[in-house]
Symmetry: C2
Subunit: 763 residues, 2 copies
């Protein structure tokens, strides 16, 4: 795949295959789905952070005209607890509520307004309990326990997650450790030791489309239309919760309006299923924005990083202690913590390392997967500290990084995939383009750099795809990758069109339906272009081989002498036949289809720390120039340069869009986003009080550079991308603020107030 290759479809910024549907509003999302007889479900949520549910009486609500049924704890006794990793979450609260927003009951009614009205008629009595809403509170001696009993463990892609026994009676629920060399020895050898603690705030995924499910329990069949990123995994969760085999669960995924990790695993879907089961009809449950805020978030984290350096600026030892607040239920917390712990070391050569990463329960909204998946919390810390060290050592932060970066081919940890790019290349590009060495012409201007690396593709991936080539040369692609807005449908179709030499518009992606679509683990971890890209490419190549063999028979020519071009099979002498002719001759009529199939699975290796070498390395670099207003503390991003190692951009414009979107996401948690708890209450679960970046926040100069070295394992040397752009933003901006005005802030977000206080010495 490394050799020069002329592309027909790949590498071109063609119109998105879903573009017209989306700009015209024709695109169907889960909330557009209407099933005959469908009721509307609304959820009663806990107003307390922690309380025993003493009494619940749904009779008045049930009597309201238009109400079909009310679901409460009595109805769910025979169903299992659920959760992405641990099984610790009930469909509705049974004994006690654990956070403000915890589902207590649900109503199905003829319309949403009636369902909403009925919620007010449900009588509840709570006995309040003391709550813990921060890592500090949760870890304090004699802290109230969010979960008295240990949660059940669970499987996730071949890994078993189990709360350690020693954590019983505490709010700790998971620990990841990693060690190499001898850290104590390392620190002894170090000329300087730096120890800093960084805080990462709780932020929300905020998909434009909140969580939405239409559930239809009919006989022994459970059908879901779901706004999900991983229908096959969701199928497994539903199968487990309701004790039915996988063939009794069908999940259909319409367009999804953003996921960012917040729609992975299992969220409100079991509730929708239980409600449909009790209502005896299909039920639609669509969250408000506020409800999605109360469903999932990113882990707030505290990362104490201690780094030893030699006199000449070589990293010698690093000790990482990370606490991640997973809220009231574990969700993906243990896995996010594992990844955070694993990624805490950074893209540097450090002989002595120890990492301890802990997951902590609190009485707050559960934290789960979120674009970046545990990496943000650690890049924020280690890339901030890199500048702290460089400044202290009086080394240029760029030079300091270049001196310590891992080299291509080196191992991040033993057994993992060797580093698959030249880490200095992107860093130098970012530095050059942001004008790192350029003289500043104004005061209060500063520049910052950051270099981040994430094991891409998720922990362990299994996927497959199929391609149907039909009589007139049309191609149908069956893929389990969810179109979340990221453009996967277009990019995967491009791969198919390329391999089968048809125009992009001749490829159509079939409706994602777990009954019919080949298995895919999840649309996450920037994995689709590599994992599903390879499946799709292999499926297309399988179809291509069959087509060529068929053509060879009819042209009486060797397969090797045939090639595909523009919907025709051509021989060396310029003779060609259309696919339609080949198909018609093969099938004896304008009929039939060639079915190609392709699959992919990651390697497992006991030598790898996480059991499986990473699918690829997602590497990204950021360079930023900011201007700080000393009077207001306002930080303005004058220029942002994002460099992404994409291997080969299948659709360059989409790659740029993904990368720009990622940077904007990063600007959100860097400068403004924060879910704020006060007295156990989430006080800003809405877009007035919780500000996300808007167009006015786009950097004045905004550049995305795609490195295309064909160094990825995906089709044509591509890699996954889309998360990378996020990683460097916060530390790069913090480093630039320091460069501009000499203050170092260790808590996100870098609000004007914090900057102002730092400037004026008030904490």
């Amino acid at each position: 795949m490394k050799k020069a290759q002329a592309f027909r479809v790949v590498g071109n910024a063609l119109p998105r295959v879903d573009g017209e549907d989306k700009v015209t509003g024709r695109a169907v999302y889960t909330s557009d789905v209407r099933v005959p007889g469908m009721a509307y479900g609304k959820i009663l949520r806990s107003p307390y952070p922690h309380a025993r549910l003493a009494r619940i009486d749904t009779r008045k609500a049930e009597r309201l005209t238009g109400v079909i049924t009310v679901l409460s704890r009595e109805d769910i006794a025979r169903y299992e607890l659920f959760g992405a990793t641990y099984k610790d979450q009930p469909i509705v609260v049974v004994d006690k509520v654990r956070y403000v927003g915890d589902p207590v009951a649900a109503v199905a009614a003829a319309d949403g307004a009636t369902a909403e009205d009925a919620l007010a008629l449900i009588e509840t009595e709570y006995e309040e309990l003391p709550a813990v809403t921060s890592i500090e509170e949760a870890l304090a001696p004699n802290a109230p326990l969010v979960h008295e009993a240990s949660a059940g463990g669970g499987e996730l892609m071949g890994y078993h997650y189990q709360p350690p026994k020693e954590f019983r009676g505490s709010n700790l629920c998971y620990r990841f450790t990693y060690e190499r060399g001898d850290v104590a020895e390392g620190f002894k050898k170090s000329a300087y030791v730096f120890e800093d603690t960084f805080q990462f705030s709780r932020v929300h995924q905020f998909s434009m489309e909140p969580h939405a499910t239409v559930a239809h329990v009919s006989g022994d069949m459970i059908t879901l239309w779901a706004s999900t990123q991983d229908p096959f995994t969701l199928r497994e969760h539903i199968s487990a919760v309701f004790h039915v085999p996988l063939n009794k669960v069908r999940i259909i995924v319409p367009y999804v309006g953003g996921g960012y990790g917040g729609k992975l695993s299992v969220k409100t879907e079991p509730l929708a299923v239980a409600l449909s089961w009790k209502a005896g009809r299909p039920v639609k449950v669509v969250h408000s924005i506020e409800e999605s805020f109360k469903t999932v978030s990113r882990h707030p984290a505290r990362y104490r990083v201690k780094t030893g350096v030699s006199r000449d600026g070589r990293l010698i030892a690093r000790e990482c202690e990370i606490y991640m607040d997973t809220g009231a239920y574990a969700d993906a917390g243990p896995r996010v913590t594992q990844k955070a712990g694993y990624r805490a070391v950074g893209p540097y050569r450090i002989p002595h390392v120890r990492t301890d990463a802990y997951t902590v329960y609190t009485n707050t909204v559960p934290a789960g997967a979120f674009r970046g998946f545990g990496t943000l919390q650690v890049t924020w810390a280690y890339e901030s500290q890199m500048d702290i060290i460089a400044r202290k050592l009086n080394i240029d932060p760029l030079e300091f990084r270049l001196k310590n970066l891992l080299r291509k081919g080196q191992e991040y940890t033993p057994g993992d995939t060797p580093v698959d790019c030249d880490l200095s290349e992107g860093l130098l590009r970012a530095a050059t383009d942001v004008g790192w060495k350029r003289k500043k012409t104004k005061p209060n201007i500063g520049r910052g750099l950051s270099c981040c690396m994430k094991d891409g593709g998720g922990t362990y991936k299994v996927a497959s795809a199929a391609v149907k080539l039909t009589a007139d040369g049309s191609v149908f692609l069956l893929t389990g990758t969810v179109e979340l807005g990221q453009g996967a449908r277009t990019a995967l179709s491009q791969v198919v069109a390329e391999e089968l030499a048809v125009p992009l518009e001749r490829v159509i992606v079939a409706q994602l339906d777990t009954d019919a679509t080949p298995y895919d683990a999840a649309t996450n971890a920037s994995s689709s272009m590599v994992v599903m890209g390879l499946c799709v490419q292999r499926a297309a190549q399988d179809a291509r081989r069959q087509l060529l063999r068929a053509a060879a028979r009819h042209l009486k020519e060797k397969v090797e002498r045939l090639s595909l071009n523009k919907g025709k099979v051509c021989n060396a002498k310029g003779r060609s036949v259309s696919y339609e002719e080949v198909m018609t001759k093969t099938f004896g009529a304008k009929a039939g289809e060639i079915i190609g199939r392709g699959s992919y699975q990651d390697r497992k290796s006991s030598a790898a720390v996480l059991g499986s070498p990473t699918t690829f390395w997602e590497t990204s670099w950021g360079g930023v120039e900011v201007e700080v207003d000393r009077d207001s503390g306002q930080v303005k991003i004058l220029k942002y340069v994002s460099v992404a190692d994409v291997g080969k951009a299948i659709h360059p414009l989409q790659c740029e869009g993904q990368d720009e979107g990622a940077v904007m996401f990063g600007i959100g948690h860097t400068l403004m986003e924060e879910m704020i708890y006060h007295d156990g209450q989430l006080v800003n679960p809405n877009l007035i009080d919780y500000r996300v970046p808007h167009f006015g926040d786009v950097p004045e100069k905004f550049e995305t550079i795609l490195l295309e070295n064909r160094n990825g394992p995906g089709p044509y040397g591509s890699k996954g991308m889309g998360e990378g752009g996020l990683l460097p933003v916060a530390p790069a901006v913090a480093n630039a603020i320091y460069d501009a005005v000499g203050v170092r802030i260790r808590d996100l977000p870098l609000t004007p107030e914090k900057v102002w206080r730092a400037l004026h010495g008030k904490s």
Copy 2:
């Protein structure tokens, strides 16, 4: 496949997989489909059998509140004509109406009642033209022409149908001829020559669910939910009419409430598409019973059969002249005529044969495919005449047939599949069970026999299927066979369950969706058990091989030493592992799927008269005992014995149900059903005036015998079935009436009036 085999699932009358859905009313049919924004379409139909459409003004209708749009001839200029064989049918009438019921315009409105009201506001002016409503009128000199210009030809499963040039200027539109030996010579050698003309009436398929379509044109995508028997063929028709490639047409098939051929090819679907296109939203078009009566029917036919016999009762020569009335548009007429002509000879050894079969246009409802597909019209004639000859020669009709029957392995025509059963076996079973030789104990009692043969499986078949075996041993079956009520979903699932050694309930059939489901030509011609059965079996075997290979790796055992049993892979020593274990080990997690694929296509052979040897022979025998009331002419069926050659009954109870249903269908056209035209008007398009058999018409004694000789090409030696039972009914009953009271009636149906008139010498 012939060796003794212990079956686990196959051969058992297990509960139907769709049974619970259907008895509870949960099953979704096209008319249950609701798409957001959907409008309701109604069709304005011609009140004249033949008239020029002078003017049409839709403005008043368009102004009615609730009307979204009105479709008329101005809107369809850029779309093609359509038709199963010839392209002769417009979406709505352009120049002239050709039968009472011809679609003239269509309205889309917010609800059905408004659409209905709007029809009355469409102003039309017609110039009436003389009409032809029977074969005789159509063939008369200077008869008015139904079509002035020749229709465009069309492809159908690799056969090109084209109206012969010499028929221009006449109402003839197709001719099929077949000849062997020298008929003139044959008649010269014959001791006796018999010439009889038989008439077969026009009857309607009458599905419980009339034709129904939801069409949604959205951007350049056309999506249909359709009550169709052949979604892939329909896709091709829609693609051709609207000039879009196949990947821009998606057809989803919910449950279908009966088809019987009436839902093959293309009917009202293009109109629904055009209406949706003009309305700019989805449109549902559901026929009333009357509209379905005015959409498709079985070909009325006139068959003159001339047969020469030797003194000792051997058939020597047969000349067949068949005219089939295809109504105003060809639909499948040419193909039905071809099949009628081909099948006219009957299951007998006759050295000299000539067949001429013609299709005739008339100003009546189009006639198309209908269970039996052209065979009924000819078995009615040849099996009636067999008795006429036998009586004349004073030979027992049973003995006469036995003497002349083709033997197993003999060719029906050169190049065709040799006869694949012992034709005498079934005939003797029917005779024995109906008490052929038993003495009659009452007057006016008579017995009749009939033996019929049909090349089964359709002209030429191409199909494929896929099977997904998933992590917990659940199996998903992707098949294009439509569940019409015939039980295909159950029987095909049984084959999969058998091959993969799982209980039937672990197999689920995915929603039929042309985007995702592998190609299948059609659910017709009793083909599914053989054609799709083999695809499904091969797909399951493909999955099985992959499963065994995977298990072999993990068990460190040779594949040949492993077998499947109850969801486990077992070795010879009794060690076993569950599929879930094998899958988990193979995929490294409880993830992934094994995809099996299977396909089938008929052979093509230039040696075969129809270009392709028949997939199998569908052979059937009927024995009947009737009592005739001399005063009323009423015929009562005292006993009916149906014998069906099924090879191997995959689901015996369903086979019996299919066969009994077929006999009841036969009783309909034999004793009561007839669509009656008067002055060009169809006078009985409803279930009051057009009587179909009800439970009171079930024979007092009713027996179905399934011959299971494992002589079929389908899975486990199975054959297709479901049409065979129909074929012998009419001639067997007519023969029994003759036996009872000595009158021979040559026109169907055998109504009391006709029998009474024959008994009393009045015609």
